[in-house]
């Protein structure tokens, strides 16, 4: 390995990835404001730049020139550090996301790194709430801590279910089971039919709901419920420290969408891959497109998830606190737990009969579809009788 390749891999790739992701944040904010405007039959920002695209940049420039107020009664050190603690973990988590060939750090424990940093994100919020020494901030911070830890359980269990089939794939095809790259590779096949969201449908649903709750967004935005808590944990923050919580929310959304894309939506894989009639669209032999196509598909999928976040936020009413906690503990956690047990049995059975008619994931996929269909039919019947 030459000097330049070493430099690229060790320092420039992480820098490029972080810069790309930070550049997407204004884009998501613009998307959010335009989409929410459309949903509310308004037009939204359209004056600054083409179609208002520069509006978030103008807002950031305004915020950076504002007074940075530190109220008198706060715990000064923690108060000043909290926005940094909120932003760093979600940015650092992006290092292990494989955007096609571009990846900041190709370590073999990607999933663990994501989980560890995503649980650190709760510190920023709860410390901000506590250090502000303000009733609204305190309530918002405590609520947020309870909410984030509750939904993290369902989320980690949903990831374990996917990890099981990835691990079976890694045993036969090579690669580390905990690497997100292996998770994407295990979804190669006939276009979207090979992606995990079909074969791990319960885990996918649990993950999506938990991801919305983890990023403290509506319908789970109790920590910053403006009608009851002013602005929740960031009530006291002004200037760019407020902007950092705002940025942190969007970076967190990007991270979770990217993880979801890798685990459930085939990462950088093209939806047309492996489909006979569309084989002509396969660009993997054209020199430049070979590198751009995976990036394009990855960002398209991430954008779809961000759009889903925005759509949910401006469509659903906020949940009540006890409903929110009950959903996490009484619905998502047992659902994910049962699905892990089901996948264990099905993937175990699949390994026993491997090579008989189907090979690899074939048996698991067939049995998984049957299990979900059976669960749905039982649900329909029980609902019909009561």
């Amino acid at each position: 390995m030459g000097f330049w390749e070493g430099l690229w891999r060790m320092a420039l790739a992480p820098l490029v990835v972080l810069m790309v992701v930070l550049t997407t944040v204004p884009l998501w904010i613009w998307l959010e404001r335009r989409v929410c405007a459309r949903i509310q039959q308004r037009i939204g920002p359209n004056r600054v730049g083409v179609m208002g695209l520069l509006q978030p940049m103008a807002d950031a420039a305004k915020l950076i020139f504002k007074e940075d107020i530190t109220p008198a009664h706060v715990d000064r050190v923690v108060y000043l550090l909290a926005p940094i603690i909120a932003l760093v973990p979600s940015m650092a988590a992006l290092a292990v996301i494989p955007f096609g060939d571009l990846q900041a750090a190709d370590v073999n424990i990607g999933v663990l790194w994501i989980l560890a940093l995503s649980s650190l994100a709760v510190y920023g919020v709860v410390l901000a709430g506590w250090a502000s020494n303000n009733k609204w901030s305190m309530m918002g911070g405590i609520r947020s801590a309870a909410q984030m830890v509750s939904y993290e359980l369902g989320m980690s269990l949903a990831i374990i279910a996917v990890l099981l089939t990835t691990s079976v794939y890694a045993a036969s095809h090579g690669g580390h089971a905990l690497s997100l790259r292996t998770a994407v590779n295990s979804q190669q096949g006939v276009g979207p039919l090979a992606w995990n969201f079909i074969w791990h449908l319960p885990a996918f649903v649990v993950f999506i709901i938990a991801a919305v709750a983890e990023s403290n967004r509506a319908p789970f935005d109790l920590p910053e419920a403006e009608q009851e808590l002013v602005a929740g944990f960031h009530t006291e923050y002004s200037s760019f420290r407020f902007a950092m919580f705002y940025m942190g929310e969007y970076v967190h959304m990007t991270t979770l969408s990217a993880v979801c894309t890798c685990l459930f939506f085939g990462g950088w894989l093209s939806p047309f891959a492996g489909i006979p009639l569309l084989a002509r669209l396969n660009v993997s032999t054209v020199p430049v497109l070979m590198y751009l196509a995976p990036l394009f598909w990855f960002f398209l999928k991430v954008t779809l998830f961000i759009f889903l976040y925005i759509w949910l936020r401006w469509t659903l009413p906020r949940m009540r606190w006890d409903q929110l906690m009950a959903l996490g503990w009484v619905v998502l956690l047992p659902a994910a737990l049962v699905w892990v047990a089901v996948v264990t049995v099905l993937a175990g059975a699949g390994k026993v009969v491997d090579g008989f008619v189907f090979s690899g994931d074939g048996w698991f996929r067939l049995l998984s579809l049957l299990a979900v269909a059976a669960a749905y039919l039982i649900y329909r019947r029980r609902r019909g009788s009561s």
């Binding site: 060790m10 950076i64 706060v74 650092a92 303000n134 374990i160």
Partner: protein
């Protein structure tokens, strides 16, 4: 450790350091650029115009403590599942049965906690 792997770890450290630098630089730049004109009213904690009467840092509902303890318990169980899941592909049927026993014990604990009313927040 292979050279590629150790490079990846260095890159991970660099990414973390860059995130820290960017996140610390932004509020620092802002504090240099922004004006600084504090006044008594501005430095009060914001309670919708009403003068705050007491400190906000104080005891909170004990339900949050229960939630935190339950989270610790279940999160440790989940952490135990990760190495098992990573090795699942390379292990035989032993992995299946062992995990089912583990999940069964976890489920019994979960049902007990549920029966004791730990998941009722409206009472």
């Amino acid at each position: 450790m292979e050279p590629n792997e150790s490079i990846a770890w260095v890159a991970l450290g660099v990414a973390g350091a860059l995130a820290l630098i960017i996140a610390s630089a932004l509020p620092f730049i802002s504090s240099l650029l922004g004006p600084r004109r504090p006044s008594d009213v501005k430095l009060q904690s914001y309670e919708c115009g009403i003068t705050p009467e007491q400190e906000a840092m104080g005891p909170v509902s004990v339900r949050f403590g229960v939630t935190a303890m339950l989270f610790l318990l279940f999160d440790i169980e989940v952490v135990f599942l990760y190495p098992w899941a990573a090795a699942f592909g390379r292990m035989g049927l032993f992995a299946v049965f062992e995990a089912l026993v583990f999940l069964a014990i976890l489920a019994v604990g979960y049902l007990w906690v549920w029966k004791r009313g730990a998941f009722e927040w409206d009472k």
